[in-house]
């Protein structure tokens, strides 16, 4: 049996940063692009300002909701102090988007709530999911400030690949 190609992404940070929301957009974008998606996360007590993470896996068919050897293709970390938690879990040719976090923070300035959307934009540069899927995904997940979210997403998408 041939090994099924699956893309593994982890979003992580601290409760309240929009980690789970970003993962939700990613999940929808992959689904809308025709992938089978499994996305797994923690709820409840841990969310009260504690460490939060969400794994997303997509491809033709996904069995396990967690990556089998705990290694992923993309690390999307939203908090510099949390980075250490999964920095060693990157596949050999994987991409760590931590190098964009500072840029994201500069770009959103005092509108910190859009950091997750900017980072999604960066991530989208590396994935072969059409932009239309991302935009529809954002419309499904964000209930407010949709245009502003799309604008920060576009900024991030443009930044992707530059570092």
């Amino acid at each position: 049996m041939k090994k099924i190609q699956i893309t593994d992404v982890i979003f992580y940070g601290v409760g309240g940063q929009g980690v789970l929301t970003a993962a939700e957009v990613m999940g929808w974008a992959a689904l809308l692009n025709g992938h089978h998606v499994k996305k797994t996360e923690v709820h409840g007590m841990a969310q009260r300002g504690g460490s939060v993470e969400s794994f997303i896996r997509f491809g033709k068919q996904v069995y396990s909701p967690l990556p089998v050897d705990s290694h992923v293709d993309f690390l999307v970390c939203l908090h510099p102090e949390e980075h250490v938690r999964f920095k060693d879990n990157l596949k050999p040719r994987g991409v760590d988007l931590i190098k964009y976090l500072e840029k994201a923070r500069e770009a959103v300035a005092d509108k910190k709530q859009f950091t997750n959307t900017f980072m999604l934009g960066v991530l989208s540069h590396y994935l072969s999911i059409p932009e239309s899927c991302w935009l529809t995904a954002m419309e499904k997940v964000f209930h407010r400030s949709i245009e502003e979210n799309k604008a920060f997403f576009a900024q991030g998408r443009k930044m992707g690949g530059s570092l």
Binding site: M1, K3, V14, G15, E24, G27, W28, L31, L32, G34, H35, H36, V37, K38, K39, T40, E41, V42, H43, G44, M45, A46, Q47, R48, G49, G50, S51, K60, Q61, V62, Y63, S64, P65, L66, P67, V68, D69, S70, E81, E82, V84, R85, R144
Partner: protein, 521 residues
Amino acid sequence: MSLHRKDENLFLFSGNEALAQGAYESGLQFAAGYPGTPSTEIIEYLSHLKEVDCQWSVNEKVAFEVALAAAIGGKRSLYASKHVGLNVAMDSLMTSSYVGVNAGFVIVSCDDPGMPSSQNEQDSRCFAKVAKIPLLEPSSPSEAKEFVKKAFEISEQFDIPVMVRMTTRICHTKENVALGLRTEIPVRPFGVNAQKYVMVPRNAYQRHINLEERLVKLKAWAEKTSLNKIEISDKKIGFIANSVVYFYAKESYPEASFLKLGMSFPFPENKVKDFCRKVKKVFVLEELEPFLEEHIRALGVKNVQFKDPSFRVGELRPEDILSIVKGKKKEHKKTISRPPSLCLGCPHRFVFDLLKKLNVVVAGDIGCYTLGFSPPYESLHTCLCMGSGITFFEGLSRSIDKKVVGVIGDSTFVHSGITGLINAAYNKTKGTILILDNGTTAMTGGQSHPATGTTVKGELTKQLSLEAIAQAAGADTVDVIDPAKHQEFEELLRRRIEENNLSVIIVRRPCILLIKSQKKQ
């Protein structure tokens, strides 16, 4: 599987949402539960559907009985809670298999392996066995949707409540789920039948005979059902696996043979023996308790290997499968992780600041305020289960020569604190209990309860008065205070602690997340 397609009808659904949708499509008419991670979203999802009469109940025992009775009355019904919630309904659960149902009744119990949000990691499968009810275990959100439909059918075919056992990793995993149409099920007539529904000893004895007969039939059914599925591939290595663990193994060993157990009670002995005959070396994979293991050991098959007992603790993860195959022990790794803390602006912060200052022993309870145990407060000293903030206050007061304060949240007080308060008053306990009233069930995301005056559907209803019920339970004094008024709060608490009375102070200030979400709307 035809998931690799673009489909307008596909949604990214969590296991909880998928299960709720499956129940809805099965013609579900009534649902009840009490919030608890990882189960909360089941009732929340159902509350948005106009065809389903749905409620947050006072506690799980109440939810279970109301839902079972609704099924006996003729409507397809569902109960949902977290694993420890089912403990509260244990009394009702144990006799429910005797009386059986009328329309289908499904019990959803959501276990929390690894305890990201619980006080223990008990295994609900053991409850299904001891309560003598069939047990279904989906492995994914899409299976949760299908299995709950099956559960209603089994429940009606065999006149028995059916447990669907979920785990955190299934409840809170999302995947592509296709929506289907609802089948309307007519309400079944309720016929008076005292022999079946009145559990006095003579009737119960006959119902126990009847139950054992139903279980024999269910066992035969479990042997045949495709819920228990043999997949023969490489005959050198095979896995018997349940729940999400099946998928971990399936991805790690795509060429192995599998016996996927989707219905593990009554246990399909012959199917297991058959599988073990076909495959040379068999590994049994299951999270938590050795439930499958004990059944399989009793069969006396020789070519089977079980996990080391160290793997009974915590969640099984994909990387553990290889360790189990190699017969290794679990390494309990310490991971770096930021601990949770009380939110900025949380009213509980004022309370624990003060309790720390007063240097009293504090009996705590389940909720956000349990975090008062951790730095910088370190001023909550016990927490066992729902309601123990008051009962531990009483017990500790009887033993310790120091001031003891009981702390309990508003939702928790209504859930199981009232009986403790009556007991304390009845048995002449002196001391002070704080009801931390933040106007919501905060820990699980802000659900309504009787003292909020709104239902799960957001409708206004009778509002329970915490003041009146505390007084009626026998508190000598009942005060209401805003903890943000530091000085008044401190003066009041100091005074009440020194009195030779049973005092209740309702510490009332809304949850900061509740205020934020109201501002957004």
